[in-house]
Symmetry: C2
Subunit: 201 residues, 2 copies
């Protein structure tokens, strides 16, 4: 497809940009999107500070681009692997995929979005808005997946709330206490909730 125009300069620039954003997402999952600084990013990547800055034009744009980059990683690691499954299988694969994504520390600070949500939830501005929108989409995805389970004996929205709660707390407590065992609690809670919601009357 139209990949004929290959300007080596632009290509290199985009690669640098990807490299910056990858590192930015890693840092932000630990230090937050405010703790993420352009100077530190430059030092760690051995790029000039102005070189980093030029790619985004402002810190807010860097933060927004970092959120988008993390969202792509999230989709690749959690949503895409669920593939074309339907019904209960799809819901299970999404939940299992999320727990695995959190547990394997795709981001060193645990789930990127858990970190930045808590950081920006009480603020205003475009960064908060983009984070909130992503969260809405994720919960809506789980709710829809739940609603697509045949003969569901529960309110999909209520079930989605409970399921997402288990995932979030497992991530939070595992990071805070260096305790991998909480994932077992989360998996047990997920299994029990799905059993309840799918057992035939």
């Amino acid at each position: 497809m139209g990949g004929v125009k290959v300007d080596g300069r632009v290509e290199r620039g985009e690669q640098t940009r990807r490299q910056i954003l990858r590192r930015a997402a890693v840092i932000a999952s630990v230090e937050g999107l405010e703790g993420l600084s352009i100077g530190r990013l430059a030092t760690e990547l051995e790029i000039s500070k102005s070189g980093v800055f030029a790619h985004f034009g402002s810190k807010e744009e860097l933060q927004l681009a970092t959120v988008r980059a993390a969202a792509r990683i999230f989709v690749d690691e959690v949503i895409t692997p669920a593939g074309a499954a339907t019904g209960l299988a799809r819901l299970e694969r999404l939940l299992d995929g999320w727990l695995a994504y959190s547990e394997r520390r795709t981001f060193p600070g645990g789930c990127f979005f858990y970190s930045v949500q808590a950081e920006f939830d009480a603020r205003t501005g475009r960064v908060r808005d983009s984070i909130a929108e992503f969260d809405r989409g994720w919960v809506e995805l789980i709710r829809t997946a739940a609603a697509d389970v045949p003969d569901l004996a529960a309110d999909p929205a209520q079930l989605a709330f409970e399921l997402v709660a288990y995932l979030q707390l497992a991530n939070a407590r595992s990071v805070l206490h260096d305790d991998p065992d909480v994932y077992a609690h989360a998996r047990a809670a997920v299994r029990a909730a799905l059993d309840r919601a799918t057992r035939r009357a």
Copy 2:
């Protein structure tokens, strides 16, 4: 008693200190404990920057004192009101008390500890340790209260995990989306979980 020694200077100092910490907890629930700056604190309270600093000697000590101050508020608003209740009533009062504490925005950024946990969970140091210890104590309190429910038909640790998960997600989503309705989801989830765990075989 023994409150006979009343050094007016010390008294005034302690009042200033309390005033600083009250504001610090409010700010930190929105901006985080790192976003909390001594200069801003001084400006808002109309105290000199060095005056604020002198009370703590370092930013880390200010952060630690802020965590302790927030912990006292949390105890006053959530744990003390549960009073001397026992069994299921105690567990219910703790959970309801927490949801009310979050919902009424005792701290403008929602639960103080949710905010700072997410901020410090992947870091190291005394601030993170004190936050982690507080969280351990809270979950342990819920687990113990659950274990004290007569004829409990569930593993207390597992039940505590699920209950705390509902509380945390309600707080998180209500702040992020300015949506008070999530508390209804949390209350329904809590009620259902307690019903399940206490219905007689």
